[in-house]
C-alpha cells in the first residue's frame, strides 16, 4: 500500500512541479514565457537523458545527437513547400515534398530518435564507464559534423529557420509525456532489471539479467524521448543551428541531471528547472537586470557560473541535491512498514 | 613490561552497514609473532587493512608505540609498517629488482639500505638470483618470497602478512615459516593472518581466533599440545 503511495508521490511531485511552472509562465509577458518554455523543453531533454543514464548508471555524452536529429527532422517536416524550396533547395525529395502537423512531426522525431539510438546502441551498449563516455561523445561529434555540412538532409551550414512555434501549454504537455514515459519505464520489469544492473552488474548478470539487452531497451526509449524533446525544442525556438544542439547543450543538460541527482526522476526534473532558472537569470543579467539594484554581468558569466555550479556539486555532493532519491511523503505520514525499505544507492 | 609496538583498542570497521570487525582489541610486542585465524569473511584481512589505513575505522583506535596511528597507507608504511597482501600483489610487469626498489619508497633515508638489501637477499636468495627477470614469470612461491622481501627491504618494525601460505606446497610452507621466525629474530614483529589454524597456533606466540567479525578465542602453543581438544575448540569458535 505504502509502496504504491510512494510511487504515486514520486510521479506526482515532478508532474505538479511542471504544471506549476507552466501555469506561472502562462501568466507572464512573452519574453518571460519563452524562458519558462525553455525550462519545460529542458525538462523533456533531461528526462530523456535520465531514462538511460539514471537507470543504467552508464554515462552518455551522445544524447544530444538524438535531440539534434529530432529537432531538424521535426522542424523540416513542419515547413511549407515554398519555404522548403527557399531554404532547403538541395534536400532529398521525400523530405522536400512532405509537410506534416507539429504533432505528427513530433511522433516522427521520436521514431527517428529511437531508430538512431537502436543503430548506435547495438554496438555501443557493450561499453560502459570511460569507453562509453568517449564513444557517445564521438557519436555526437559525427552527428553535428554531418548535419552541419550535408545539405541533402538539412540546411547545411545555415540555420533552419521559419519553423512554426508552439505555446507554453504544448511544451508543458510534451514535458509531461516525457515524465510519464520515464516513470512507466522505470516501474516496468525491464526498468527494474536495468536498475539492478546499475547497483551490481555482476550480481544482476548472475541472476540471469541480460545487461546489454536491458541497456539497449533503455537507450532506445531514451533516444525516442530525446528525439521527441528535440522536436519540442525546435518548435519552441522557431529556428535551430547545429551549435545549439552540440557540446554546450550536452554540457548544460548533463549539469542539470548531475545537479538534480542522476538516479532519480525527481532529480532530473528538479535539476532541469533549477539550472534553467539560473541560466535565464544569468542570461538576463548579462543584458542588465534590476534586482533592487542594477546588475550587469559580463557576457560569458552565464556558462562560467553553470560550469562552476556543476563542478561544485560533483565535488561536494556527487549524488545531487535530491541525493538520487525520489520525492516521498514525510515519514510520519507513512506506515511503519515503509521504514524498512532500503534507501537507494546505499 | 614488554615493549609494546602495536595495540588495537576496541577497533570497529564497517562496510556500509555491515560490521566487518567488531570490538577488537589485541596487541603486538617487540619480537613477537601473533597469529590471526578464522573462517573466510571473519574480518582477518580487514584487520590488517585497518592497521595499514586502507579502510577507515568506525570506532576504537590503533596505537603505534603508544601514540595514535593516523594518515594514509603510505604514511603508515613510512612509520614502519609493512604489508604483504593476500594474493601477493607483486608488480608483474616490472622486474624483480624494480619491485624491490619500490619497497625502498617507505624508507625515510638511505642509510643502511645496502645492509638491509643484503639481509633480505640472504633470507630470500631467489630475489637476488632472478633480479632482472620480469616478476610475473616467477612461480607462486617465488612471488610470495618477493612480496615479503619487498616489504622487508624498508626495514619495517611490524610486518603484516595476509595468508602467505595460500597456494603453496606444504614443504614450501614449512620453509616459509622458518624464514618468518628468522625475520622475527631480526627484530621485526609479525602479525600473521592464516587459514592453516593448527599450524599457526603451534608457530605463533599467541593466536587469536576471529569469527563473525569478533575475537572468540586466544590460544598459545601450549594449547596446540592438546590435540583433539584444540580441534574441537577451534571448530566451536569457527562456528560461533
Amino acid at each position: 500500500m505504502t509502496r504504491r503511495l510512494d510511487a504515486l508521490v514520486a510521479l506526482a511531485a515532478p508532474v505538479a512541479l511542471v504544471l506549476v511552472i507552466a501555469a506561472v509562465g502562462s501568466q507572464l509577458n512573452p519574453v518571460r514565457q519563452l524562458e519558462f518554455g525553455d525550462a519545460l523543453v529542458s525538462v523533456a531533454i533531461v528526462v530523456a537523458l535520465y531514462v538511460f543514464v539514471g537507470n543504467s548508471g552508464v554515462l552518455s555524452f551522445g544524447h544530444i545527437s538524438f535531440v539534434a536529429v529530432g529537432a531538424y527532422l521535426s522542424g523540416i517536416l513542419t515547413l511549407g513547400a515554398e519555404q522548403k524550396n527557399l531554404i532547403l533547395p538541395t534536400m532529398f525529395g521525400v523530405l522536400r515534398h512532405t509537410t506534416t502537423s507539429t504533432a505528427v512531426s513530433l511522433v516522427i522525431a521520436a521514431a527517428a530518435g529511437a531508430v538512431f539510438a537502436l543503430v548506435a546502441g547495438i554496438p555501443l551498449m557493450r561499453l560502459s564507464g570511460l569507453p562509453a563516455g568517449i564513444a557517445t561523445f564521438a557519436v555526437l561529434g559525427i552527428t553535428t559534423n554531418i548535419i552541419s555540412y550535408w545539405d541533402k538532409i538539412g540546411p547545411g551550414v545555415t540555420a533552419l529557420a521559419l519553423v512554426p512555434t508552439n505555446g507554453i501549454w504544448t511544451l508543458m504537455t510534451g514535458a509531461l509525456i516525457a515524465i510519464v514515459v520515464a516513470f512507466l519505464y522505470q516501474r516496468s520489469p525491464s526498468g527494474r532489471k536495468l536498475r539492478a544492473t546499475r547497483e551490481d552488474p555482476q550480481a544482476a548478470q548472475a541472476s540471469g539479467i541480460q545487461v546489454h539487452r536491458q541497456r539497449l531497451y533503455a537507450f532506445v526509449i531514451s533516444g525516442a524521448l530525446a528525439g521527441f524533446a528535440g522536436g519540442l525544442l525546435v518548435h519552441e525556438l522557431g529556428s535551430i543551428t547545429t551549435n545549439q544542439v552540440s557540446v554546450e547543450l550536452t554540457f548544460t543538460t548533463l549539469a542539470m541531471l548531475v545537479v538534480g541527482g542522476v538516479s532519480s526522476l525527481s532529480g532530473a526534473v528538479l535539476g532541469a528547472l533549477l539550472i534553467s532558472g539560473l541560466n535565464s537569470f544569468l542570461a538576463d543579467a548579462e543584458q542588465g537586470v534590476n534586482i533592487g539594484f542594477q546588475l550587469t554581468l559580463p557576457t560569458g558569466t552565464r556558462l562560467v557560473t553553470i560550469g562552476a555550479v556543476m563542478a561544485l556539486v560533483l565535488i561536494l555532493r556527487p549524488s545531487g541535491i535530491t541525493g538520487g532519491r525520489e520525492v516521498r511523503l514525510p515519514r510520519r505520514w507513512r506506515g511503519a512498514s515503509a521504514s524498512r525499505e532500503l534507501g537507494p544507492g546505499a | 613490561m614488554a615493549d609494546r609496538v602495536l595495540e588495537l583498542r576496541e577497533v570497529e570497521v564497517r562496510y556500509g552497514r555491515l560490521p566487518a570487525v567488531r570490538n577488537l582489541s589485541l596487541h603486538l610486542d617487540r619480537g613477537e609473532i601473533v597469529g590471526l585465524i578464522g573462517p573466510n569473511g571473519a574480518g582477518k584481512s580487514t584487520t590488517l587493512h585497518a592497521i595499514m589505513g586502507l579502510v577507515p575505522l568506525a570506532g576504537g583506535e590503533i596505537q603505534l608505540h603508544g601514540s595514535r596511528l593516523r594518515g594514509q597507507p603510505e604514511d603508515r608504511a613510512r612509520a614502519g609498517i609493512g604489508l604483504v597482501p593476500e594474493g601477493r600483489h607483486i608488480f608483474a610487469s616490472l622486474t624483480v629488482e624494480e619491485n624491490l626498489r619500490l619497497g625502498l619508497s617507505a624508507r625515510r633515508g638511505m642509510e643502511g639500505a645496502d645492509e638491509d638489501r643484503e639481509w633480505v637477499t640472504g633470507l630470500f636468495p631467489v630475489v637476488g638470483e632472478f633480479a632482472h627477470r620480469v616478476a610475473g614469470t616467477l612461480s607462486g612461491g617465488q612471488q610470495q618470497q618477493l612480496a615479503i622481501a619487498r616489504a622487508l627491504i624498508a626495514r619495517p618494525e611490524i610486518l603484516l602478512l595476509d595468508e602467505p601460505s595460500l597456494g603453496l606446497a606444504p614443504l614450501v610452507v614449512e620453509t616459509l615459516f622458518e624464514t618468518l621466525a628468522t625475520i622475527r629474530d631480526g627484530g621485526v614483529s609479525i602479525l600473521l593472518v592464516e587459514q592453516r589454524g593448527a599450524l599457526t597456533v603451534r608457530f605463533a606466540d599467541r593466536t587469536h581466533v576471529l569469527s563473525n567479525a569478533e575475537l572468540r578465542l586466544t590460544l598459545t602453543p601450549k594449547d596446540a599440545e592438546r590435540g583433539e581438544h584444540l580441534t574441537a575448540e577451534l571448530t566451536a569458535a569457527y562456528l560461533s
Binding site: 556543476m310 | 580487514t46 603510505e74 600483489h89 610487469s93 619500490l102 624508507r107
Partner: protein, 295 residues
C-alpha cells in the same frame, strides 16, 4: 609532388599529436582519468604566448610553461583530487565540466575573436629541397617530439619517480602500501603532462597562430585515439597512435577536396568508436579489484 609535400606536413603535425597523446596517457595511467580539460591547458599556453608576442621568444616560452604547469596542478588540486576514488563516469563528467568552465573563462577574458601568437613565427619559413618546401617548424616539431618522448621514457625507466609512476599505474593501492606517496606521484604526473601541453602550445601556435577559447579541444579529442590504443605501459603505441591521427588529419585534409575534408572529424570520431569497440577492455580495463574491496 603534393603527395610528398602533404606527407612532410603530416609528420610535423603528427609529432605534436604524439606528445598530446602521451600527456593524456600519463595522467590516465596513474589516475584512471581521461582529462578532457587537457586541451584547455594547451589553450592557456596559447593565450600566454599571444599576450607575450612582443616579448623575447624565450621569455614567452618560459612564461607559457609556468602558466600551463600551474594550471595543470591547479586542475588536479581543486577539481580532481577531491574526486579521487569516484566512479569513472563521475570523473569524466568532472573533467568535462572543468573543460567547459575553462573555455568559458577564456571566452570571458579574451572574447571569441581570438588572439594571434607571433612567437617563433619565423619558423614558418621554409627551406626548398628540390620542389619540396620544408618549413622549419616541421623539423623543429619532429625533433622536439622525439626529444620529449625520449626524455619521458628515460624518466620513467631510469628514475625512482618513474618507477613509482609505473607502479602507481599498474596497482595504485599496493604502491601506496609500499610507501609511494599518492599525492606526490599524481602531482608529478600532472606537472609532466602540463610540461608536455606547454610544449604542444609552443609548437602548435606556430602552425596555427590564432588562439580561440576552444583552441585545444579538437587536438585533445583526436589525440585520445592514440591514448585509446596505447597507454602508460605502452607509451610507444600511445605516441604512435597520436602520431598517426595527427598525420592523417594533415595528410588526408591536404589531399581531399574541401567538400570531402569537412567530414574529416566524422572519420576520426568513427575511428575512435571502432577502436573502442575492438579494444573495450584494453587500456580502459578498470584497475584490478583491490584487496580492500574483498573482505
Amino acid at each position: 609532388m603534393t603527395f610528398l609535400q602533404s606527407l612532410i606536413d603530416g609528420i610535423g603535425l603528427g609529432a605534436v599529436y604524439a606528445v598530446v597523446g602521451v600527456g593524456i596517457g600519463l595522467v590516465f595511467g596513474v589516475m584512471r582519468l581521461v582529462n578532457f580539460a587537457y586541451g584547455e591547458l594547451i589553450t592557456a599556453g596559447g593565450y600566454t604566448l599571444a599576450m607575450l608576442s612582443g616579448a623575447p621568444g624565450i621569455v614567452a616560452i618560459i612564461a607559457c610553461f609556468a602558466v600551463v604547469v600551474a594550471l595543470a596542478l591547479l586542475q588536479e588540486r581543486v577539481a580532481f583530487r577531491p574526486l579521487r576514488g569516484a566512479s569513472p563516469a563521475t570523473m569524466l563528467i568532472a573533467t568535462f565540466a572543468v573543460s567547459f568552465l575553462l573555455q568559458n573563462i577564456y571566452l570571458l577574458a579574451f572574447g571569441s575573436r581570438g588572439s594571434t601568437v607571433g612567437t617563433l613565427g619565423g619558423l614558418n619559413h621554409a627551406i626548398a629541397v628540390g620542389s619540396l618546401r620544408i618549413r622549419w617548424i616541421t623539423i623543429v616539431a619532429t625533433i622536439a617530439g622525439g626529444v620529449l618522448l625520449t626524455g619521458l621514457t628515460f624518466v620513467l625507466n631510469r628514475t625512482m619517480l618513474g618507477l613509482q609512476l609505473r607502479a602507481a599505474a599498474a596497482d595504485f593501492q599496493t604502491a601506496r602500501t609500499l610507501g609511494v606517496r599518492a599525492n606526490r606521484v599524481i602531482t608529478w604526473a600532472f606537472a609532466i603532462s602540463g610540461m608536455l601541453a606547454a610544449s604542444v602550445a609552443v609548437l602548435l601556435t606556430v602552425q596555427s597562430p590564432l588562439v580561440t577559447p576552444d583552441y585545444g579541444v579538437s587536438v585533445t579529442i583526436f589525440a585520445l585515439v592514440g591514448v585509446v590504443v596505447g597507454g602508460l605501459d605502452r607509451l610507444l603505441t600511445a605516441s604512435l597512435g597520436g602520431f598517426a591521427i595527427g598525420f592523417a588529419t594533415a595528410f588526408v585534409g591536404d589531399l581531399l577536396p574541401s567538400s570531402g575534408s569537412v567530414y574529416l572529424p566524422s572519420v576520426v570520431y568513427g575511428l575512435v568508436i571502432i577502436v573502442l569497440l575492438l579494444r573495450p577492455s584494453g587500456l580502459f580495463a578498470g584497475p584490478r579489484a583491490t584487496a580492500a574491496e574483498r573482505v
